[in-house]
């Protein structure tokens, strides 16, 4: 019997664990270690953040789902990896610390034959002065939609602003990224349009100034260096697509901004031109930068090998080319294909947990040397595909004795479908349905725009909103392992 341990129960970890158990059956053991008791369909948090959905609509308890599937669930956070065992135990193991199941604070060792790191990000609010509450969570001056609880709080704050506007008090909304090295601009993109839509529905749109602040050097970069859509006989830049949408809705934008300080009602930011400026707000939702969750690693003699397994940002090294050098030398082939750690071949990292070889967007710094560059997005569809591909490789290793991973999942060889809500409503809602293929541009294979124009598309409309809503129900159905769940693609 082999034991597969999956650290993390988000989109990629949950996908990996559930498919692994289905493919491995009762003969082998699948263990999930996650500090959370609830699974959250994060893409719908933006609807919670404007009061269109409640927390209960976007989460469900993990324990009964894992019990039904026969997965060993430990509500705990992973603390360290010991890929060579230690002086008393020759088997590879991880240490965990319980956060629930009436064992809070207790530590335990878990041996493994195969390990998947799907720990996702640490929401690094502490990276920006005033963005954190001092304990690593969102601070008092801004709101967040990164978790369901954050989004519930955001909706209450939004409601309070709407009440003020109804009484004749103008409000300024600031939505965007809270640091120069953020990713996940898409969430801010969705939230700002949903706020605008909500204010319009409440009849107070004219009382609001709405501003987008972003570390992107142009709107529509999305951490992917922008993209070109096939549209109306043109290869149209995502810059034009995004700017058009912001202009149509009367939204202003601040580009190339590194927010370095948040105070009550005011942010201070540095621009790419090196200037410091401030922006006042009454309501602000600023996405924090992501970092690794802070796992440590030790060798057989208990020597610290964290730097061997992890990049300085805390993400796990896999089969990527980490020596690509400057932007001019970057290639699509730098991106990992098997997601296997090259020092310890029974360890894999998927989703946000793997260390990208470099950004996708061109690195930029302010005149003062402050890096202001979107980091690569690797959430949602790509992370689920990675989770499934790695699982299939491990299953082949366990059941069929494969010596090397049999499946690949490179972001330079896969596409992504992104449906970004621009307002909810069965007949009044709209969303931007975007497909991009491949995620990482490959200028050797697709000279010109770096992407396949037949697979890179974008359109705004009600149909995309329907798709987004169906995805909400479809993926929750799939994650709950309800009948036919394997038929719903990642």
């Amino acid at each position: 019997m082999a034991r597969l341990v999956v650290m993390g129960g988000g989109v990629s970890g949950h996908t990996a664990a559930t498919f692994a158990k289905k493919m491995l059956g009762k003969e082998h053991e699948v263990v999930v270690v996650t500090p959370n008791s609830l699974w959250n369909w994060i893409p719908s948090n933006i609807w919670v953040g404007v009061g269109e959905m409640g927390k209960k609509d976007v989460v469900f308890p993990l324990a009964p789902v894992y019990e039904k599937a026969g997965i060993d669930y430990r509500q705990a956070k992973a603390v360290s990896i010991h890929p060579e065992g230690n002086s008393t135990n020759g088997d590879a193991f991880i240490t965990i610390e319980y956060t629930g199941q009436n064992r809070e604070g207790q530590s335990e060792s878990l041996t493994y034959d195969y390990l998947i790191n799907a720990t996702g990000p640490k929401l690094n609010f502490g990276a920006t002065e005033g963005l954190s509450n001092g304990n690593g969570d969102v601070g008092e001056h801004t709101v967040s939609v990164c978790s369901a609880d954050h989004a519930v709080h955001a909706s209450h704050e939004l409601k309070a602003c709407i009440e003020k506007m109804k009484k004749g008090e103008k409000q300024t909304f600031l939505i965007g990224t809270g640091h120069g090295m953020c990713t996940c601009q898409g969430a801010a993109f969705e939230y700002i349009f949903n706020i605008e839509h909500t204010l319009k529905q409440e009849g107070v749109r004219d009382m609001a100034e709405i501003i987008f602040i972003t570390n992107e050097s142009f709107l529509g970069d999305f951490g992917m260096g922008g993209l070109h859509f096939k549209m109306g006989g043109f290869a149209t830049s995502s810059k034009v697509f995004a700017e058009s949408l912001y202009a149509e809705r009367g939204l202003n934008w601040i580009l190339g901004a590194h927010v370095n300080k948040v105070e009550a009602g005011k942010v201070t930011y540095e621009s790419l031109d090196g200037e410091m400026d401030t922006q006042a707000f009454d309501f602000a939702m600023l996405i924090p930068p992501f970092a690794g969750v802070g796992l440590k690693a030790y060798d057989k003699e208990d020597g610290d090998i964290t730097e061997k397994l992890f990049a300085p940002n805390g993400f796990m090294k896999v089969d990527a080319n980490y020596n690509a050098g400057s932007y001019e030398n970057w290639k699509a082939s730098d991106w990992p294909r098997t997601l296997q750690n090259q020092d310890y071949k029974n360890i894999f990292a998927v989703g946000i947990a793997f260390a990208p070889p470099h950004p996708i967007s061109k690195p930029m710094s302010s005149k003062n040397g402050t890096p202001i560059t979107p980091t690569p997005p690797r959430t949602g569809m790509p992370s689920a595909m990675m989770g499934k591909a790695v699982t299939m490789s491990i299953v082949d290793m366990i059941k069929h004795g494969a010596s090397e991973p049999t499946h690949t999942s490179s972001m330079a060889e896969m596409g992504a479908a992104c449906v970004a809500s621009a307002g909810k409503g069965l007949f009044s809602g709209t969303a931007a349905a975007m497909t991009v293929y491949p995620i990482v541009p490959d200028f050797e294979k697709y000279p010109g725009t770096g992407r396949d124009l037949n697979g890179t598309t974008g359109e705004l409309g009600l149909a995309a909103h329907w798709v987004k809503h169906i995805l909400h129900f479809g993926f929750l159905w799939k994650a709950k392992l309800k009948p036919g769940w394997t038929l719903i693609p990642e």
Partner: protein, 54 residues
């Protein structure tokens, strides 16, 4: 047609992009047309998914 375009301040960032006019805005929420687009988006995404699994 002009009623669909609000004033845009010349030389502002918003002035430098394309602005949808009435027909485009109408089609975005026209249920019949959006049913067609719904089918098209789903086909497109299915092809993308099939191309992405290795």
């Amino acid at each position: 047609m002009a009623k669909h375009v609000k004033h845009i301040e010349p030389y502002s960032p918003q002035f430098g992009t394309m602005i949808p006019l009435g027909s485009q805005k109408f089609l975005r929420t026209c249920v019949l047309w959006q049913i067609v687009r719904f089918v098209a988006i789903n086909i497109r995404m299915t092809i993308l998914i099939l191309k992405s699994h290795h």
